[in-house]
């Protein structure tokens, strides 16, 4: 076994567990700094022991697309907020709620919107939808006198959005898995979408029934959203956003999503006179830097053979322990949830070859060929959704921030349904 790879893997996992468990307090060393320090330490150990570090190999582990798409999404969310799109959405939802069966329809639509129009990063939807979801949750909470509703809705939305990069055809994790496994594009999309809808509902139930006493209270009492003044072009901004994103998902035009979002932002800026400061105000650096630091850490780990060691360990566990290939395959599928990173791609890029290998061996052992794609889908879904429960700058952080909730009260209900 490659000793440097083993040391690198040890440092990486230790840093991850320490950050997740809070042994390294976030107020002392946020995850970005912790991962960066771990990367520097791994590189130092590797270089001192004479192992060559290819800078290019390290960089090639980074996926630029989710980062730039998220930046573009945040920029647009800033423009939408300034243009009054959030107020328009709240007003729209409030009107829908007055209809017969309006509440469940509004909830169902809001929570599942990220999967219906699946983006390569769920943050693109969460950023604009979160305030509306909180408002809606508080309204229903007041009507039904149920304090768990805002948390139910928010975490339903969060897990739906987090997992939505699985079925996304425009550069999601699912597409990555399909491509690497050489399956036809979009072949895993529908089963994943159905699973996500079910998982979102389960998460909402878990939040309601099992964590009710811990669920955060709706501390703010919103004014009646319907009567709030909607800025002049709020509806225009909102509708153009939904139409364009919907069209992008449906028709997959040969134009990068980032360009489309920037174009939309410019349109909203022209219409509403939104300033650059409003746009910048929409950007949240934490998820971006967390994602990037994860890619850097994965790059260093990959460059020194850390992932090869991990696969070797899993192989050993499969052949020499009672777990067998089936047990290790299940463990492998859940690995992204066990070590939830701020972006599922961080582990997915490195581990999909191992998933394919285990899938093949499991298919041979069980004589069921469909085991391999099933394992791959399970892994992809876990990887995609893992940024939901990740306390390290995942989508869940946005939800927690919106509700003013603590990490421990919400991460577990979001893991359990998987």
């Amino acid at each position: 076994m490659n000793l440097i790879g083993a040391i690198a893997l040890g440092i990486f996992l230790l840093t991850l567990v320490a950050s997740i468990r809070g042994w390294i307090p976030q107020r002392v060393l946020p995850i970005q700094s912790a991962l960066l320090a771990a990367s520097a330490l791994i590189a130092l150990v590797g270089i001192l022991s004479g192992a060559p570090l290819n800078w290019g190999d390290l960089i090639s582990y980074t996926s630029i697309h989710p980062v730039t798409a998220t930046i573009a999404g945040f920029v647009f969310a800033g423009a939408l907020r300034a243009a009054g799109g959030f107020e328009a959405a709240a007003s729209l939802v409030s009107r829908v709620m007055r209809l017969k069966y309006g509440s469940p329809f509004a909830v169902m639509l809001l929570v599942n919107l990220p999967t219906i129009f699946a983006m390569p990063c769920g943050r693109i939807w969460v950023a604009p939808l979160l305030p509306v979801t909180i408002l809606l949750g508080e309204e229903i909470a007041r009507k039904n006198k149920d304090r768990a509703v805002p948390a139910m809705l928010v975490f339903g939305l969060v897990i739906n959005a987090a997992a939505s990069c699985g079925p996304s055809l425009i550069g999601g994790i699912g597409a990555l898995g399909e491509g690497m496994g050489r399956y036809p594009a979009g072949s895993f999309s529908n089963p994943q979408s159905i699973a996500i809808v079910i998982i979102s509902a389960l998460v909402m139930l878990f939040v309601k029934y099992f964590y009710r006493e811990k669920a955060p209270l709706p501390v703010r009492v919103s004014a009646d959203a319907e009567n709030r003044p909607v800025p002049e072009h709020g509806f225009f901004s909102l509708i153009i956003f939904i139409i364009v994103l919907g069209a992008t998902v449906a028709f997959e035009p040969p134009v990068p999503l980032q360009t489309i979002l920037v174009g939309l932002t410019i349109v909203v800026m022209l219409v509403e006179g939104v300033s650059i400061n409003d746009l910048v105000g929409g950007i949240m650096l934490h998820p971006l830097t967390a994602m990037l630091s994860g890619f850097i850490a994965a790059g260093v780990l990959g460059a020194f053979g850390g992932f090869t060691v991990l696969v070797g360990l899993l192989d050993f566990a499969a052949s020499s322990t009672p777990l067998g290939y089936a047990g290790v395959a299940v463990l492998l599928a859940y690995l992204p949830i066990i070590f939830p990173m701020p972006c599922g791609r961080i582990l997915a890029v490195s581990l999909i070859p191992a998933v394919l290998m285990f899938g093949e061996r499991l298919a041979e052992a069980t004589a069921v060929p469909s085991v391999q794609p099933a394992l791959l889908i399970a892994f992809i879904l876990c990887a995609a959704a893992s940024c939901g429960p990740s306390p390290l700058g995942g989508i869940g952080s946005l939800g927690r921030g919106g509700l003013g909730s603590r990490i421990s009260t919400t991460a577990f209900p979001r893991c359990w349904p998987y």
Partner: protein, 161 residues
Amino acid sequence: MKRKLVIINSVGAIIILAYLALLGVNAFKSGYPWSVLCYNCKRCNPVCVLGIDPQGFIAAAYSSDPNVYIYTTNVRLKLHDAMDIDPGMEIIANGEKTTPAAALGKIGLDPDMEVISYRVRARDAAVFCLDCGACEKACPLSLPISTIARDLKKDGVFRGK
């Protein structure tokens, strides 16, 4: 957070953001600024008969390093050829993953044996590339991926170098 920690963590965040900027600069430097647009959706991957991961060329471009190892899982070649090209490439010989150096040295396989590549440097993958253009056809953004392979095939360096 204490003042010292604030400074340390801010520097960390700035380094991370500078890293993102570096990728953009690299993409320009290597002569393929469009490489930052890649969705990394791997739609190009299943269409290559040689098993080359065309996204690897793009990753090599924004790494500005043609020596990045990329998946090339179906190029058949003789072991001595693999050794001449790159002793460190990953190959599959007799169903096992190894390197040409190990296969010829420690394992002692026949140099004339036919092996299958697994992970090779981008510049070597470009030499194997058939230039069939299937990757470009599969790309949802129609990125001119094969231009990178064509440039690397010529002299092993990117257009911008």
